[in-house]
Amino acid sequence: MCNSIIQVEVIIPTQTKYLDLIGSIGEHIAKELDEFSGDREALAYHLNLVLTEATVNAIKHGILTNPEDTVRITIHIQENELNIKVYDHGQGFDLESVPIPDFEHPKEGGMGIFFIRTLMDSVTYTRQGDCNVLEIIKYLS
C-alpha cells in the first residue's frame, strides 16, 4: 500500500526535446514510492516509457492543429492508484481502433499504444471540453 499523495502537473511546448524531462519525472516518482513492494526498477522504466509514449502522441496530435500548442500532463498518486492524464488539443483518434501490432510482420510504428496498454491497468481517451484526455491508470498494490 502507498498512502502518500503525490500530485504533479507539467505543461510543455509541443517539442520532443521535453520527452526526457517528462519520462524522468515518472522514473523519479517510481523511486519515491517507499511502500511499493514490486519491482521498482521495472516500474521506473515503465512509467518513463508510458509518459514518453503518451506525450509523443499528444505532441503529434497537437502540433497538427497548432504548432504553438502545449501539452499538459498530470500525475496523481493516491493510495494505491497512480493516475496519469495527458491533454492534447488535436482532432483526437479512436483508441479502440488502434490495432495490436502484428508480431510476425513487425512494422516501424504503432507500438506506442501497445506499450501503454500492456504495461498499465487502464487506458481511456475521451473528449473533455476543448481537449482530448488520455487517462492511464496503474494500480500499485
Binding site: 519520462g23 526498477e41 516509457l49 509514449e53 509523443v56 508480431f103 510504428g109 504503432g110 501497445f114
Partner: protein, 112 residues
Amino acid sequence: MNLNLEKINGCTVLFIKEERIDAHNSGELKEAVLHLIEQGEVNIIVQLERVRFIDSSGLGALLSGYKNAAAKSGKLALANMQQQVLSMFELTRLNRVFDIYADLNEAFDSET
C-alpha cells in the same frame, strides 16, 4: 545524436553514445543507419551499452535499419544491451527478429 563509428575485425560497429533513444533522436539514428547502408556498409553491429532507455520510435529506427540491411543482403545485429532495454525487445517479440549478442566479441565470433 552522439554516435561513433568504428571498423573492428572487419565489422562496422555503431556505438550509440546516448542514454536515451526516444522520438527526439530516433529519426537521427534511423537516418545515420540508412546512410551507412547506402554507402555499402550493410553488415552493422549496433553497440547499445550506454543506452538505458528506448521507446517505440527507437525500436522502429533499429527495425528500419534491420530491414534496409536485409534488403541489401546484409544484417544489422545488436550488442551489449542493458536488461531493461532488452525487455522492450522481448515485449514486442523483436528479440526474435534481431540477432542480439552479449558483447562485441560474441558478435564477431558469430558474424565472421
